[in-house]
């Protein structure tokens, strides 16, 4: 017990007393260190059911109520501390969460766009595998990457060109129907003039009555079908498809049987030579995102 007062000042102790104190403290620390090392060694070498493990388990059980009590006493302080901590972090958390919301919103937009594109491509794929698809043509699926800046030119630019085998005047379609024709081709992009452009025209055929005519830009978003003689029968609701005519070496730009429009209005007058027919195209030209360019297979006429 005298050890507790062994902090004597050097000046007040004799050399023998000092030597004893030094010896004693070295002995104590040496014993404690050796004891610690022995504990470590034995603890390591013995199995989980060994003596020290059992002792430790008992000791832990004895200490457990104290720990629980301390935890209970401290829990209101911990709660208060975490409440204040939460207040301190609220501002930075808010900033972080706002950033996260912005990122997620951007991601959601990207995902929705991808979903819509995926749906459109699936539709195209369905069309490519359907019997409606013209067999002499190889499909080149391309994304719409640009639109004509003015409303006067009904054109789009697609992400495929010469390198994909596209050439001028190739027909461009979607699963819904005819889109237009390729009017300019670069290495990896091509310009497509839409059917709704005033320079575009296509020979059409009424699939029910076999009446033929030429469809071209009409009023607003509709098409006008011209050159339909009065003796031919065309009814409201009839579907018009590309005629795909051939005359000697000449042939239509478009393969036969591609849907073009549905007749909405039919009229005729005594003075006119031809019927006046209006039809709505199946393709929504303003929302095109992907198209199929029909490239004529090598060897096919």
């Amino acid at each position: 017990m005298a050890a507790i007062g062994s902090s004597a000042q050097r000046s007040t102790s004799t050399p023998s007393v000092r030597a004893n104190a030094v010896m004693r403290r070295r002995l104590v620390v040496g014993i404690l260190c050796v004891l610690s090392l022995a504990l470590v060694t034995v603890y390591f070498r013995e199995s989980d059911s060994g003596f020290l493990h059992g002792l430790q388990s008992t000791g832990a059980s004895v200490l457990r109520p104290f720990e629980v009590a301390a935890d209970r006493v401290a829990s209101p302080f911990e709660d208060a501390s975490s409440w204040f901590g939460g207040l301190l972090h609220a501002k930075s958390d808010n900033k972080k969460l706002r950033k996260e919301v912005d990122e997620l919103r951007a991601q959601q937009i990207v995902n929705l766009a991808a979903l819509r594109e995926n749906q459109q491509l699936k539709q195209q794929l369905k069309y490519l595998e359907s019997p409606r698809y013209p067999q002499d043509y190889r499909p080149v699926v391309a994304r719409v990457i640009a639109r004509a800046p003015s409303q006067f030119a009904q054109q789009i630019v697609v992400s495929a060109g010469k390198n994909q085998g596209i050439s001028k005047h190739d027909a461009v379609v979607t699963a819904e129907g005819l889109v237009g024709e390729v009017t300019k081709v670069a290495s990896n992009v091509a310009q497509v003039t839409l059917l709704s452009d005033d320079s575009g025209a296509v020979s059409v055929l009424d699939i029910k009555t076999n009446a033929s005519g030429i469809a071209q830009q009409g009023i607003s978003n509709s098409l006008t079908v011209d050159q339909v003689t009065k003796d031919q029968v065309v009814n409201r609701g009839d579907v018009l498809v590309t005629a795909g005519w051939r005359s000697g070496d000449l042939s239509s730009l478009y393969p036969r049987g591609i849907q073009v429009c549905q007749v909405t209005q039919v009229g005729q007058s005594d003075t006119d030579l031809y019927k006046q027919i209006q039809c709505d195209p199946f393709v929504h030209f303003s929302t095109l995102e992907a198209v199929i360019v029909l490239v004529r297979k090598a060897g096919s006429k």
Binding site: R24, V29, S36, T41
Partner: protein, 171 residues
Amino acid sequence: MIDWLKAAAFVFVAAILQVSVFSGVKILHGTPDLLLVAIICVALLRGPIVGAAIGFWGGLLVDTANLGTLGVTSLLLTVAGYWIGRYGETNGRDRSHAPFVSVVVITFLYALGSLAFHYVLGDPAPAREVLWSTLFQAMALNLILTWPVYALARILLPAPTRRERVVHAVG
């Protein structure tokens, strides 16, 4: 005897608080070590033998409560208690900055020693985490704890008078 009991009880409370409360406190990734600070304060006031003994006792309590390898913390805290006891005994006790200097130095050495010991034993020893990511925060938190803990230790274990010291030393 009373002094021994007081010191042991003081360290017992510190050890219990350490394992049940302070170990879960994370401030800027640092964790305060109340037990280490308590042992340093007692060792400063009562010298190397008491320092080593309560270091051993505190380490044993922590290893028991945490079901850790018995003897590891005891060894580290025994050495820490002894060194600080010697420092206090020789020239540090009466200096006002002694507890703070002791806490900073021992926190660093304790982290280093603990890392080395665990490495030798084959336990996970994340050096970057221990010596860089959390060490300075732990030092700062221990420094904050030092003032109240040292004040409490001085109340519980008042410094012996000059006369008492002489009596004890001479026997």
